[in-house]
Symmetry: C2
Subunit: 187 residues, 2 copies
């Protein structure tokens, strides 16, 4: 243990930390709207080193997205484990609540929306599909719900994304409450 200001780490140890910073940074500005310099600042390292850890911006975004989708599945898992019964609809509901709780800070939600926006970049599209596959298959197999119920689960998840990104939950008009009704918000 050197008492020195040894901030040295291994590249392999640093990469996931940078990916975690990238999640919040890209969530804020999207793919094109976020610079490597911002991710570097959030990570406490130089832009040059970010580029060394992730050879292209695209790869950095993919790493962030993978991190994001992993956290989503973990949240669903925790929700399912905490369900009051193992009835498929109850489990699915519990997953929905867990998801709503997870995205209270908006970062994981926004990143998914941004990813949709640039899914035509092949590597990003592939990562998005992989993430959706794990979410969907997990929701289906863990809950044991019908295909239709899982589809509905995902559909209302997407509606939730729209409500948050567009800021609909703060609108008092009837059309807005109609959309938000029953969608669990962050406190």
């Amino acid at each position: 243990m050197s008492p020195r200001s040894s901030i040295l780490s291994t590249a392999d140890a640093r990469r996931p930390l940078v990916a975690a910073s990238a999640v919040t940074a890209f969530a804020r500005g999207g793919y094109h709207g976020t610079t490597i310099a911002v991710v570097a600042r959030d990570s406490g390292i130089s832009p040059a080193y970010v580029s060394k850890l992730f050879p292209t911006k695209e790869r950095l975004f993919v790493a962030a997205l993978e991190e994001c989708m992993t956290r989503v599945v973990e949240a669903l898992e925790r929700g399912a484990d905490a369900a009051s019964s193992q009835d498929p609809d109850v489990v699915l509901d519990a997953m929905g609540d867990a998801y709503a709780h997870l995205i209270a800070d908006r970062a994981l939600l926004m990143l998914q929306v941004h990813a949709q926006s640039v899914a035509d970049v092949p590597e990003i599209g592939a990562a998005l599909r992989a993430g959706l596959e794990s979410v969907t298959t997990f929701a289906k197999s863990r809950s044991g719900a019908s295909d239709a119920a899982v589809q509905r689960f995902m559909a209302y998840g997407q509606l939730c994304h729209l409500i948050v990104t567009a800021g609909i939950e703060q609108i008092p008009a009837h059309w807005a409450t109609l959309l938000s009704d029953g969608i669990t918000h962050p406190g």
Copy 2:
């Protein structure tokens, strides 16, 4: 450019044409990923003149989004008019089919996804909310369906956006068909 080939028009007549080009251009690359020069080329005018017609890129995007949302409502209207009965659920279904037909070329769909992505830009967020308000209120009032049915209509619309942007419809796996099932695709 040779003065012969230039066809003079009024700025007010040209603006909507440029907005229409902007719809497809922004749909392709999103807000940050699309340059004014691209819109200019698609419109057959110079970048400088695009900037004269729309003083900022932001305003240009807003114009495109407004055009987009207007076309969506018009499509819903046509769908409702073509419904086989005036039963609320039937009308809503007909609107869904009309929407699916409208977004066959993906441009109007992609633009909405891109708009979500940059909805934190105040003017764009406002335009998005305005568009969603007109879609939602129209769907509700024209169909006469329950709030819950309209909410479901919108939720599955969002799921449709996800399916198309992520390219899920081409995946033969079960998780993918589960999501796409019953969502009308373009031929």
